[in-house]
């Protein structure tokens, strides 16, 4: 199965490290990616759940497909300003 790298930020980075790697079947969606990360980090599943997925620096909905060639990031609720 393809290996995907997910970049993590803020509270998620402290919890899981700057990068999480996981294997996902080809054609998997952003929603499936979030579920897989949550399973890999059971202590932080709620934080993963309220985080958004960015693919190539653009926010995507749960049905968007993700692949090993994409720049994938998991972004907790923001607090800029």
């Amino acid at each position: 199965m393809p290996l995907l790298t997910v970049h993590c930020y803020a509270a998620l980075r402290e919890a899981a490290g700057a990068r999480v790697e996981l294997e996902l079947p080809a054609g998997s969606t952003a929603g499936e990616l979030k579920r897989a990360v949550a399973e890999q980090l059971p202590d932080h599943a709620a934080l993963v759940e309220r985080s958004a997925v960015a693919v190539n620096r653009r926010l995507v909905g749960p049905t968007e497909t993700v692949g090993p060639e994409d720049e994938i990031a998991l972004l907790p609720p923001v607090s800029g300003g």
Binding site: A52, G61, V78, G80
Partner: protein
Amino acid sequence: MPVIRSEVIEGPLDPALWWLQVQDPSCGATVLMTGQVRDHHQGNRVVRLEYEAYRSMAEEVMEEVLTETARRWPEVRVAAGHALGSMEVGEVSVVAAASAAHRSEAFGACRHIIDGLKERLPVWKKEFGPDGERWQEEVPLRPAEERRDEESG
């Protein structure tokens, strides 16, 4: 029309520079919004904040917010900046500036910029103080399509 400056940089920021850069002989009104580190948050005392960004995306999003603002208020000159790293109480972490012939466009544009940055910029702050340290979580990020649906709905 003119997006004068858009930057995500190591902080803190000097707001006077941003004010100066949006000046133009055609502009009689400038609105400058600054955000600075506050000494409290939700009942906790705060002595400093640490800002972290998904920097490449934050730079793109800031440019996008400014470009949208300039499209909606074509006669307004706009600029914005966000600081990263460790900052103490009173230091300026965010700046939005808008300059126009008249004040109402400048107020509208400045408000639009700062609201866009607060809602969309992938930036986070962690607070430190005698009551401990914690990440602040304020706004869940949403894809552009979802935000547009809500605005039109």
